[in-house]
């Protein structure tokens, strides 16, 4: 892939994976302009989640480099690997990772002190009536919205979404994708979404990449 002069986020990572399907090399190169969206698809076990975790600093690559707005997050040749706390990526986990002990409001307040931003997010996702609810008292769609809001609450440089719609029914999925599109357009957030089903993301405009296997 040709390097673009206006690219603001550049990710080039390699990691040997040992999955139930055997050993393989995960090798991904992504370049994107700030505020854009990249959709990454691939079969189960290809390393999609690992790829997102490497960007977030939750796991280390064997080799590679991550540049975000000229800031080096990872550079294995220079022994640089920022902690997840310093990167502050917005991460929407496949299982949502909502804290069972916290209400909707507490989850957002744990992420940020900016009350105006919290109110704006709650209003956008129509979660205001549920601020005192804990995750177990929310529907699947509401949990998913909360997971996205919480990831956005920290105003991340990059939003990472791991199979965000896989557990939802068709109707909820369609509504949420429309809402996400509006949210991303409005806030110009650089976003990387991984999915095993690229069709479900057709409504979202963005570059498409495939993660496959390599010996």
């Amino acid at each position: 892939m040709q390097q673009k002069p206006d690219a603001m986020i550049s990710i080039n990572l390699e990691k040997k994976l040992n999955t139930y399907q055997g050993k393989h090399l995960l090798k991904v190169f992504v370049e994107m302009e700030t505020g854009n969206l990249v959709k990454i698809s691939g079969p189960s076990g290809a390393g999609k989640t690992t790829f997102l975790k490497m960007i977030a600093g939750l796991t280390s690559p064997d080799s590679g480099k991550i540049l975000v707005d000229d800031l080096v997050w990872t550079d294995t040749s220079a022994n640089i690997n920022l902690s997840p706390q310093k990167r502050k990526t917005g991460f929407v986990f496949q299982d949502y990772a909502l804290f069972p002990n916290m209400t909707v409001q507490q989850q957002l307040e744990y992420a940020t002190n900016d009350q105006n931003w919290i109110q704006e997010l709650l209003a956008f996702a129509r979660l205001e009536p549920f601020i005192k609810h804990k995750p177990s008292q929310l529907s699947g769609g509401q949990q998913q919205r909360l997971a996205i809001l919480r990831a956005l609450a920290i105003k991340p440089k990059v939003l990472l979404m791991d199979e965000p719609f896989s557990a939802l029914d068709f109707k909820t999925k369609k509504t949420l994708i429309q809402e996400l599109k509006l949210l991303l357009d409005k806030n110009s957030i650089s976003t990387i979404i991984v999915t095993h089903n690229p069709k479900e993301l057709e409504a979202l405009p963005g570059k498409e990449l495939f993660i496959g296997e390599e010996e």
Partner: protein, 221 residues
């Protein structure tokens, strides 16, 4: 007139032991719950030994280790004026070691069962490991923490062999309820033995019942 000092001493020992294990056991349980290494396997095995080792064996080695006549015990006495043999401090030390697995194992297992994504989500929000532990992990293992604390407390109430070996049977200092029961029976004073026994039976039953009720309530909510 029944001497209630063994009961007060037992309660004091159980409260102190549980408090010490809460403070020192939680970080150890957290550390053990993360990742695998040979060192962790060895430490886990050592921490679990009190579960399977006869209490008298543990008490015997503690007696040897802290004897004021030699080695560590002599050094502690000379430099810090600390004597663990035949003292209440010795009972605390022995109880902490003996009850270690009751606090650490349930907490470690509960932490391991939490989805890793909870801690990861907290880290990506800029929160430190300490903040994550206290605000995210610990509140979500409340039931296990309560069970571990109550089991540690109840287990300390019933200790006999290890406290007898290191503490002996000194009234008001090391004679806890379980030793007082043995002492009363030896003296054919079954009435007093019964009072102490009823107390231990009633308290441990109430504690275990309270944990079961709380866990059922917690599961429903």
């Amino acid at each position: 007139m029944t001497d209630f000092s063994p009961i007060f001493l037992t309660l004091k020992l159980a409260v102190i032991t549980t408090s010490i294990l809460l403070v020192f056991g939680l970080p150890v349980a957290y550390w053990l719950s993360k990742g695998h290494s040979l060192l962790k396997v060895i430490i886990e095995a050592v921490l679990t030994m009190p579960l399977v080792l006869p209490p008298s064996v543990l008490g015997f080695y503690l007696l040897l280790a802290f004897s004021p006549q030699q080695g560590l015990g002599k050094w502690l006495l000379q430099h810090f004026d600390l004597q663990f043999v035949f003292s209440f401090e010795g009972l605390v030390l022995a109880s902490v070691i003996y009850s270690l697995p009751f606090m650490i194992n349930p907490v470690k297992s509960a932490l391991q069962q939490l989805p890793q994504s909870l801690a990861h989500a907290s880290f990506t929000m800029g929160k430190s490991e300490r903040e994550t532990f206290f605000y995210v992990l610990l509140p979500n293992i409340r039931a296990s923490l309560l069970t571990a604390s109550v089991m540690t407390f109840a287990h300390t109430l019933g200790e006999f062999g290890v406290v007898l070996m290191i503490g002996g049977n000194i009234p008001g200092i090391t004679r806890v309820a379980s030793i007082a029961i043995y002492n009363s029976v030896e003296n054919m004073d079954y009435g007093t033995a019964n009072i102490y026994s009823l107390f231990l039976f009633g308290l441990t039953f109430l504690l275990v019942m309270a944990v079961f009720i709380y866990n059922k309530y917690a599961a429903k909510t």
